[in-house]
């Protein structure tokens, strides 16, 4: 059972929120010393429900792929070829230019080494960053920010007076996911257009002031802390007015929940609110039944997914150079289709890393093959890359985390073994 995450969400020593939207210049200059690129932002997308990686990044040269998936396989003619062995699902077309431009790196046969086929356990393991260990109450991304705070160079530089924006860790959604939960304050918001109390206007409403006083003086530590974070964020949002940042000309986000989330993350990034880590999730991947092939259920989800990600990337324009986006899902799906035109819970999966500085245009990871004796437990794609190695490499190069043991306790991540995809 997960403990109350909120109990961790009080203000940390370094987490005194600033009053204006002048976020990370301090952090930036400090990070420059630590080997990380300055001003980098990390966007994490969780595909909840276990996306069928074998039909997203299709190993179209594998004979067994076609024999195991008689009704849902993507025909060779219709995959979007990547490297002569793998090809993208045709609904992922919007992402192909990003691959061609060398910004999209794909890692196949990756994921969590834990064997759980429970969505909920596997999501928790993946988000906590401690596969197989229950009861971890904070998430890897929060710990990555903690590690950034603990970074010796950073502490020396600002002598404990570093200011972090209230938007430093942000979730687009109605709650703070486990990935972002922990000591570093994180905020969640659904819709930045309605993120104000008692009406939007140039000045706070009187009711908002009353609530602010009420929560500020409350002895209820959870609501006291959340109230502080809330009013801080509301103020910053009012000052920065991110709604003024409309999508770049020619960029159209899909009119979907996910498209809307990505659009709002772009607005918040453009508004320079000091976002360092942003998280959102997208559901609808649990395709047990009639998942379809070139068309159908999964194809529709992928169409929305890839169009949203591609729109986000084009929308960011030049500033995408400082942004890295990572996708993950709790596990893959069975290599064979099941009896009802779908796939059941499997093991390894594909991840995307999209970044201005990514060494994209390549499918990374050792391919384990799909022969019967190559499958995990005779049914799933085997795992050859621990997802923590991928994330470890990404956060080292973005957030400037120099202590990966804090972020992923219990596993020794050797930077020399990284895939060198960033």
């Amino acid at each position: 059972m997960r403990m109350n995450r909120r109990f961790f969400l009080h203000k940390g020593a370094l987490a005194v929120a600033g009053t204006a939207a002048i976020p990370s210049f301090l952090v930036r200059s400090v990070l420059a010393e630590t080997g990380a690129a300055p001003g980098q932002r990390l966007v994490v997308i969780f595909q909840r429900g276990a996306v069928d990686g074998l039909n997203v990044v299709v190993p179209y040269r594998e004979k067994n792929y076609y024999s195991m998936r008689p009704t849902i396989a993507i025909p060779q003619k219709q995959v979007i070829d990547l490297d002569g062995f793998f090809g993208l699902h045709p609904s992922m077309a919007a992402c192909k230019p990003l691959y061609d431009q060398g910004q999209l790196a794909i890692i196949h046969a990756t994921g969590s080494p834990d064997m759980s086929r429970s969505h909920f356990d596997a999501q928790d393991y993946m988000e906590s960053g401690t596969p197989g260990v229950k009861g971890t109450d904070d998430g890897w991304l929060n710990r990555a920010l903690q590690a950034e705070d603990a970074n010796a160079a950073l502490r020396r530089r600002c002598a404990g007076t570093c200011e972090h924006s209230a938007f430093r860790a942000l979730a687009l959604g109605s709650d703070v996911p486990l990935t972002l939960a922990g000591r570093v304050p994180a905020i969640a918001l659904n819709n930045l257009n309605s993120f104000a109390v008692g009406g939007r206007g140039p000045a706070p409403s009187t009711a908002a002031s009353a609530f602010e006083a009420m929560y500020a003086d409350s002895g209820d530590h959870i609501f006291h802390a959340t109230g502080d974070e809330t009013f801080e964020a509301v103020k910053m949002l009012r000052d920065a007015n991110p709604a003024q940042y409309q999508p770049a000309p020619g960029v159209e986000y899909p009119n979907s929940e996910f498209g809307n989330s990505m659009k709002q993350i772009a607005q918040l990034l453009k508004a320079n609110l000091g976002v360092e880590a942003a998280f959102t999730d997208v559901t609808g991947w649990d395709t047990h039944h009639a998942q379809g092939g070139v068309n159908g259920q999964l194809a529709n989800r992928l169409g929305d997914f890839s169009a949203s990600v591609a729109a986000f990337w084009r929308d960011l324009g030049d500033s995408a150079e400082n942004v890295t986006l990572v996708t993950m899902s709790e596990f893959g799906r069975t290599a064979r289709e099941n009896g009802t035109g779908g796939t059941d819970h499997g093991h390894a999966n594909a991840m995307f890393v999209l970044g201005g500085r990514a060494r994209g245009g390549k499918v990374y990871g050792r391919w384990p093959g799909l022969d019967n004796d190559q499958l995990n437990q005779g049914r799933d794609l085997a795992l050859t890359t621990d997802y923590r190695a991928v994330l470890g490499e990404v956060i080292t190069h973005t957030l400037g985390t120099d202590n990966l043991e804090v972020v992923f306790p219990g596993v020794r991540l050797d930077p020399r073994s990284f895939l060198r995809l960033v």
Binding site: R2, R6, F120, F223, G339
Partner: protein, 737 residues
């Protein structure tokens, strides 16, 4: 440790006890009457007493106290109140039933619902000619309108540019050529059993020809020269004409419109006009109009409205809390497919609510047989790989490889049955157990789901042979195998632990003491899985009354929204603002996609975004800014205008000249009976005074001296109260229960 204890209990039972009912482990302890003063010194010093004890019960076993509830419970005694809550059929629900009478369709069978309030699937069948469109009456028009809408959507997708031209060409053809007589329509209306007071005169009126409306139809159709403005003017005139008709004639007029005309008409209506169309309609007629407009929306709106009606107004609150609990435990997602909203009506009404306080095994059985669950977790499509159906498919595939239909096991339900419904993820099962359980359940499917059919066991799809689940051999026995499996799972000690913990988290604390969970689990085992007995054990456990847990649970969005409506004695006619609030706060009704359901602990529900939403909801609810929801705060506003004059003639002393302090002292205990902190009080008072300062600039404070000032003064006071009440509902104290 626990398994050791259970094993010991079982051994003891083998020698000492009478055989356990239903094969559950039996405990020698008299579980139905657990010791009131268990040996637990740690709790004795910090047990809740008096009003706090009553409030704890109301906060945990209801959707929040209404003004006056504490006194009512004190009057009958807390223990007696709880026993009554465990027996919902003994509770008077006159008020609730009057409100539920607004939704007559919610009593229909699924097959009736899906036929009379057709799903998109039904409409597609009608378009493809796979089902006969009802020949006449309201229902005929409902189908025609929907077929038109669906085809319109298709056309619009196919050719955006030519859509306009096709609309005018298609519209006359889409309507059935056969003219419908008013008498036939009336017959159909009668079948909808709509006995309203004004039926008789209306029928007479309707029997006469309706020349003006007919001709205006033709006019608007003929003068297609354009312009939007013309059409808008037409529709406005049409609205005035239709709104003026008596109820039955109004419905007849609406159902006799051509689909295209009707579509344009309803789209042209402003919300207030749409509402005016319903004025004076009986519930059946109101449903008929909504059916003509958008059947799927009608269905979902009523499903949600009846649920929230019960949550807010039912006196059998524990039954509703437990219904909410089990709907979440056995979660089903509303939008899984076109038919799911229809099946959810009966799932909640016939499966969950009547069994919410009964035996868990009965509930588990009913859920397993419910088309809603069979479809949601895909068991309806699961086929035994060696079953006759699969063999036939293989032969067909061999003859014609292109014909290959997928045939086989789907393990989705079998997995969640163990992981989420019974033993829990640590319940000691393996992947092999899941596959075996899935084989056991092959053949459990739904008869004609697109037509709203029921459960059916299809022996052709059932996997032959015996299976072994959790070490227990289940012999080949058709449908009975599944029942054996469900019994096996319901009787596992792991299930007792899993359910007891979940209940303790819902009712006691986010991290409930293991001692409490163990005690509840023992009752579960000894009572044959009796949910009421487990709740009784919980109620009589000192852990529930620990002062440290007083108001310690953070309200989930539904608990917050419903408790706010209850605390403010809101009169809700329109539930949409509440549904929207729940969606915004991340807890849409029937809207949890994964089978795990929503979490009960605070972690998931306290965030910056949801706090903003809660504050705004509080302010809007208190200030009557949610359409269709009325709250009244000042004592003057409590009465209808005619009576308020009399009341003001004899004013009660403390409302005579209310001060901020007196209003705060009056409202705070009504809204937050558990009390508020000094900080909350100070902030609320300050704001209240600011509102007064604003108001006094144009109206003098309340003075009883001049009667003509009183109405104005009452309005001002009400506005001030609204601010105060909004702040109280949005306060930190109100976020907990």
């Amino acid at each position: 440790m626990e398994s050791l204890k259970s094993a010991l209990a079982l051994v003891l039972c083998g020698t000492l006890c009478t055989p356990a009912p239903f094969g559950y482990g039996q405990e020698p302890a008299a579980s139905t009457q657990p010791p009131r003063h268990a040996h637990r010194p740690a709790y004795q010093s910090a047990q809740l007493q008096g009003n706090e004890r009553i409030l704890q019960a109301l906060n945990r076993f209801t959707f929040g106290p209404r003004p006056g509830d504490v006194d009512d419970v004190r009057a009958i005694g807390l223990d007696a109140w709880f026993e009554k809550q465990l027996h919902p059929t003994t509770i008077d629900e006159t008020d609730l039933n009057a409100r539920l009478a607004q939704y007559p369709a919610m009593q229909w069978s699924v097959a009736d619902l899906i036929y009379r309030i057709p799903s998109n699937g039904m409409i597609r069948q009608a378009i493809d000619g796979r089902m006969q469109v009802p020949a006449r009456g309201t229902l005929h028009a409902v189908y025609e309108n929907q077929m038109y809408r669906l085809q319109e959507r298709k056309t619009a997708q196919q050719e955006k540019k030519q859509a306009e031209a096709q609309t005018s060409a298609q519209a006359p053809a889409a309507k059935n050529a056969e003219p419908i007589s008013s008498a036939a329509i009336l017959n159909q209306l009668d079948q909808l059993d709509a006995p309203t007071a004004d039926n008789a005169p209306a029928q007479k009126a309707a029997a006469q020809p309706m020349p003006d409306s007919q001709s205006s139809d033709h006019q608007s159709a003929a003068q297609g020269t354009d312009p939007l403005t013309d059409r808008q003017t037409d529709n406005q005139a049409l609205f005035s004409e239709i709104a003026a008709l008596p109820p039955v004639r109004r419905v007849i007029r609406l159902q006799s419109m051509q689909p295209a005309e009707f579509d344009a008409f309803v789209k042209s209506l402003r919300p207030a006009q749409r509402k005016a169309l319903d004025d004076g309609l009986s519930p059946d007629l109101r449903e008929a109009v909504a059916d003509l407009e958008n059947p799927q929306r009608l269905l979902v709106e009523e499903l949600m409205a009846q649920r929230l009606t019960r949550d807010i107004y039912s006196n059998a609150q524990l039954q509703e809390v437990m219904t909410d609990f089990w709907l979440n435990h056995f979660n089903i997602y509303l939008r899984k497919n076109d038919e799911m909203p229809y099946y959810l009506v009966s799932y909640e009404r016939n499966v969950i609510r009547p069994l919410a306080l009964g035996k868990f095994e009965d509930l588990l059985e009913a859920v397993a047989h419910s088309p809603a669950m069979l479809l949601y977790l895909d068991n309806a499509a699961s086929i035994g790989p060696d079953s006759p159906a699969a063999e036939r498919a293989k032969r067909n595939a061999w003859r014609n490889p292109k014909n290959k239909a997928p045939e086989g096991i789907n393990e989705n339900y079998a997995r969640e049955l163990m992981e989420l419904h019974t033993v829990g993820v640590n319940g000691g099962y393996t992947q092999a157990d899941i596959i075996q359980a899935a084989r056991v359940l092959t053949g459990w499917t739904v008869d004609q789901p697109q037509r709203g059919g029921g459960f059916v066991f299809n022996p052709n799809r059932h996997e032959p042979g015996s299976k072994t689940v959790l070490g227990k051999k289940i012999k080949q026995n058709g449908e009975r195998e599944g029942e054996e499996l469900l019994h096996l799972l319901a009787a596992r000690p792991a299930t007792a632990q899993f359910l007891s913990r979940e209940l303790a988290i819902r009712f006691v604390s986010d991290d409930p003491p293991q001692s409490l969970v163990d005690r509840m689990a023992r009752t579960y085992m000894s009572s044959g899985g009796d949910i009421s007995a487990v709740l009784r054990t919980l109620f009589h456990s000192p852990e529930l009354w620990a002062a440290s847990d007083y108001r310690a649970k953070v309200k989930t969005p539904i608990e917050f929204v419903v408790s706010a409506a209850r605390a403010s004695n809101a009169d809700v006619e329109n539930y949409q603002p509440l549904e929207n609030a729940l969606r915004q706060m991340g807890m849409p009704l029937y809207g949890c996609i994964p089978p795990v359901g929503y979490k009960w602990d605070a972690a998931d529900w306290v965030s910056t975004g949801s706090l903003v939403d809660r504050m705004n909801f509080a302010l809007n609810l208190a200030a009557n800014r949610l359409p269709g929801i009325t709250v009244k705060w000042s004592p003057y506003a409590q009465q209808p205008p005619a009576q308020s004059v009399g009341m003001l003639a004899n004013p009660v002393s403390e409302v005579d000249d209310p001060t901020p302090e007196s209003e705060e002292a009056r409202l705070a205990p009504l809204i937050v009976p558990g009390g508020i902190s000094e900080a909350t009080r100070a902030a609320a008072l300050q704001q209240f005074q600011a509102q007064i300062a604003q108001d006094t600039s144009f109206v003098r404070p309340v003075s009883a001296a001049r009667p003509q000032n009183r109405a104005k003064a009452a309005t001002v006071l009400e506005r001030q109260d609204q601010v105060l009440a909004g702040l109280l509902i949005g306060s930190p104290e109100f976020q907990r229960r």
